[in-house]
Structures are given as C-alpha cells and as structure tokens.
Symmetry: C2
Subunit: 323 residues, 2 copies
C-alpha cells in the first residue's frame, strides 16, 4: 500500500495511509474471516495484526472491509510554489522545513524537465525550474504563520521565486499539474515505457541521495527526471525505457540498484510507496536481513499452500539475485 495522501502526494503532518487504518476485516487463506484492530484511537489489547496486514500486498489475506480515520476540512488551506536554480537547493530547502518542524501538509519536489512535459501536456506555463510545491492547513492565522516560516527557510536556501497560490481554483490547477506529471512524462516519450525508482531515506540523507541519483544519470548517460515526496525523504527518478531493449532495461535496473544501495547503506528502504511485488523482491534479503526469515514464517503460517498472490513480496524465489 502506498503511504501517500488522498491526492497521491505527501501528507507530512498527518503521516501515511498506514497510520490511518484502524481496523480490517480479512479473509484468510483457509477461509477464516477475522477482524483486526478496533475503532478506538489507541489500544494496548492483543497483538497489532492490522499493521502486519496493511502493506502485505495481498499475500497474507484478502481485505473485505477497512475502517480509516477521517479528518475534518480545516478553516484554511494555503499553498505556495518555490522556484530554485538547482535541485540541490530545493532539497536543502525541503530538508530545512522538515528539520525545523514546520507543519507542512504537502511538500513536493518537481524537477525542471517535468515542467516541460507538464506544460506541453496540460497547456500550462510553469517556469522551467526545480520547484517545491507546498501546502499548509489549519486555522487561518496558523496556516499563514506556517507558510511564512517556510518562506523564510526557503529564501535562505536560495529560492529565486516564492509565490503564494491564493485561491482554491489556482491551488487545484497546481496540484492537478503535479498529479499529471507521470502522464505528461509518458506523453513526452511515445513508444517508451515509464520506469520509476522509489527509494526513501532518512530526511537528513535526502540531499546525498538525490545527488547520487543525478551523478548516476550522468554516468549511465540516461535521461531522467526527479520528482519527490521530499517531506518524507521519498523521491522518484522517472526513466523512459524501451521495454524491448535489454540493454535499456539493464541500465534502468542498474540506476535503480545504485539508489537502493545508497538507501540501504543509510538505513532507508528500497521502496517508499510503490511496493515490492516481483521487481524489488531481490532486495528483501539485504534490506531485512534475519527479519526476512521471520516474515517468511508468518507467510507460511497464514498461507501454507501459497495461494495468496504467490511469488510476491517475501516469496523466497530469486530474492538474492540483487545481492
């Protein structure tokens, strides 16, 4: 399960979707129907099965009901754009905002090339600069104070244009543009497939991780555009690959593998939100070490015949190929 907000972007203040799931009804492999969790805001009763099932990619059971926490619409929702000369500056600014504890609700990085694709695809006219997109929610005064604090921090990191996005219609346009990024990328690369990396690192290591991504792109002579839920330390490099060209696929895998190598070296994760499926099974052993055997024993306990989404997530097959 992708730990992203309702609109597919980071919700730093409120956490990922995982934290908002209170209870589940799950059908197990042997036909038993169980209910996990409760509707209370907290509990110390029993073992926490809810979080074990959430993110299990259908390998432990089938969810037939789930209960999620909901949030009211706040008095004020403010948004802003912050342009920079370099991605490094934008990442430094994002790191400063999180480090200072400013309660930003969305904090998205969109690198310059993406705005070329988006402008062409959505007929917009965004500046072709690495840009942070920010959202603040709360009381009118509180959200305004948070926006002002974030502005101070980004200006210190070299922001060249800081623009508050005033009304709801313009905010909607900005987030729609952000959400069209993957489609715009694909439209700009007809006939090619879209492969996105997905590491997530501690926020203090984000600048280093993005720097390594750029260096790897240059070294491997690949074109790629960076887009990130930077408030979470999670970013993607979008790559256009020819799915029929083994060399192209291999380069893309090499790039992804380098980013995973770095993420794991700083105790991050090989996938922030896209999941493991088959493609990242090869990193499970390295990321989880002896925990992987425990995960596998849980899978064997709940699905001894291997009938639930076989071959995915912690399945033993070929997991060490990436070592």
């Amino acid at each position: 399960m992708a730990a992203t907000g309702a609109s597919g972007t980071t919700t730093v203040r409120y956490g990922g979707m995982r934290e908002h799931v209170r209870a589940l009804t799950v059908v197990l492999a042997d036909g038993r129907v169980i209910r996990t969790g409760s509707l209370a805001a907290k509990s110390s009763s029993g073992l926490d099965l809810t979080h074990l099932f959430v993110g299990s990619e259908g390998t432990l059971g089938i969810f037939t009901e789930l209960w999620v926490r909901i949030w009211g619409i706040p008095e004020a929702t403010l948004a802003a754009r912050a342009e920079f000369k370099t991605v490094d500056q934008a990442v430094a600014a994002a790191t400063a905002i999180i480090g200072a504890g400013v309660p930003v609700v969305r904090l998205e990085l969109v690198d310059a090339p993406f705005f070329q694709y988006i402008n062409a695809y959505a007929h917009t006219a965004f500046a072709l600069s690495p840009t942070l997109l920010l959202e603040f929610r709360g009381s009118r005064l509180g959200a305004r104070a948070d926006l002002a604090a974030a502005k101070d921090l980004v200006m210190e990191e070299g922001c060249t244009v800081f623009q508050e996005v005033e009304d709801a219609a313009r905010q909607g346009e900005m987030w729609a543009a952000r959400h069209s990024a993957a489609f715009a990328f694909m439209a700009a690369h007809p006939g090619l497939g879209h492969l996105a990396t997905d590491v997530c690192v501690p926020i203090s290591k984000l600048g280093e991780a993005v720097g390594r991504a750029k260096a790897a792109l240059a070294e491997l002579r690949m074109e790629g555009a960076i887009l990130g839920h930077v408030g979470d330390g999670n970013f993607h490099v979008s790559l256009a690959v020819n799915p029929n060209d083994p060399a192209d696929l291999a380069r893309a895998e090499a790039l992804s593998g380098r980013l995973v190598d770095h993420a794991l070296s700083v105790q991050g994760t090989c996938t922030g939100e896209h999941g493991v499926g088959i493609g990242k099974r090869r990193y499970q052993d390295r990321e989880h070490g002896p925990s992987l055997a425990v995960m596998r024993s849980m899978k064997a306990l709940l699905d001894p015949k291997g009938i639930l989404n076989p071959g995915k997530l912690v399945d033993a097959e070929s997991e060490t190929a990436g070592r």
Copy 2:
C-alpha cells in the same frame, strides 16, 4: 506499551508512542537477533514486524534497541484550564474540540474529586470542578488561534471558567499536578490499593462511556474518580480497594467489566494504554474473536516453548473467564 506522550498524557496531534517507533532490534526466543523497520519516514518493503512487536508485552521477543522519531521544540507552547459544572459538560467540550479538528496536543479531563486529593497532596489550590487541561503547540500565531478556537467550543458547552496558563513555570505546575494525580489518590486512601479502569472508545461514544461509568459507581455504591486522556477517547476510573477484601475486589472487577462490556459493544478496546498482562486476558477472546487464534499462532511460531513472559497477553489460560 502505553500510547501516551513523553509526559504521560495524551498527544492527540502527534499520536501515541507506537506511531513514533521506526525500528527495533529484537532478540527472539531461539536466540536470533533481528532488526525490524528502517529509519525512513515510510516504507512499503517487506511485512511490518515493528508494529507486531510494539505492545506485545515481552511475549514475542526482547527489545535491545529502538529508534524513535523525535520532534523539535516548537516556537510556542500554550496551555489552558477549562472548568465545568459537570463531567458530562467537560466530556462534551472535549468531544467538540476533537470533532472540529482543532490540533490540541494534550487534552486531559480531571474530575473534581481528584483536585481535592491533589490540593492536599501537592499543596495547590485548584478549584474543585471537573476540569479540562489543554495544550497547544506550533507557531505563536497558530497556537494562539488554536487556543481561541478551543475556547469558543468549550464556552458553548458550558465552561464556567476558562483560564489561559501563561508562562512555562505555571504550565509546569499544572502538568505536575496532573501527573501527581495517581500518587495523590493513593495518599488520600491510606492502606488501600489503587485500581484503575482503562477502556478506550471511539470519541463519539466517550460521553456515553463516562455516563455509564458514573451510573455504575452509583449503583455499586463505590467511590471513584474519573481522569481521562479524553482527546483519545481513553479514560480511567480510579478506585480505592482493600486488596484483602474479596468483596471489594469483586465490586471493582464488576465495575471494570461493565466498562469493558460497553467499550466492546461500541468497537472500542478493553485497554487503551495499561496493557493486558494477566488481568485483561479474560477479555481477549471477546475483543478479538477469531483474530485471537491468529495472535496465538504467531506467539507459538515465535516462542514455541513459551519462555517469553509466559501466561501474559494472548496466552490461552483462562481467557474466557470474562465471557
């Protein structure tokens, strides 16, 4: 593990301790040492073992290291006291604050009798009224706006005295008084033991739950004082019991059982933060239903010889006594 803030009170905005644990080192029953989780803010890799271990009361493994998320000190920390004529009004006010989404960091209910005990114990002079204690954090303007919004809501619910607690020293006194409540209760009942109930219900059912607690106290002719992390829907009834008097203990258990009956009927939990141990094992079957068998199979998988904190939490012995 109690899902409370660093100072033992509710942290509504930031959630319980569970959500702040990012990674664990755990020694398993067979001697294996595993590391769960990562230091990234989010991950979709593997199965979430961290949350399975947190709150397992030492029955699945022994934690030797843990990594927690930390938060910076905000620009402003504001606090307030709100006095009411009745506990019902105080609970209605707390429910209104949470329902409106005002980001209160601590929201504690202390019933009138507790202030008698606290004043005698700590030489303070708090009014003998059901009182909400509130804390707000953030930017100066934001925290002030949140406090003002909460004040509007509590006044509508019949608050008789609303007092902002201005400086850090006075705030410290107020929270110290709150934290001394259990000691003050024990000092006021020399020779008796202190038994506290601990249900947690959906916030919409909190008024009903507290009303039932009061009705049960009256019917069973028991003296008890209510204290609650009401922002979470979690409250305690403190009871003074003679540990050598089986009738006294039975009445206390009967009261606790009635509160659990109600909590489970509204999909709450038998323990919000105190844990199961031995005393609430009897409710595990009723609360978790067919999930309990899954929890027990996890326990058997990880600790087949039953050497880790035996007889606690989901242990099979006598769990149906409370049905």
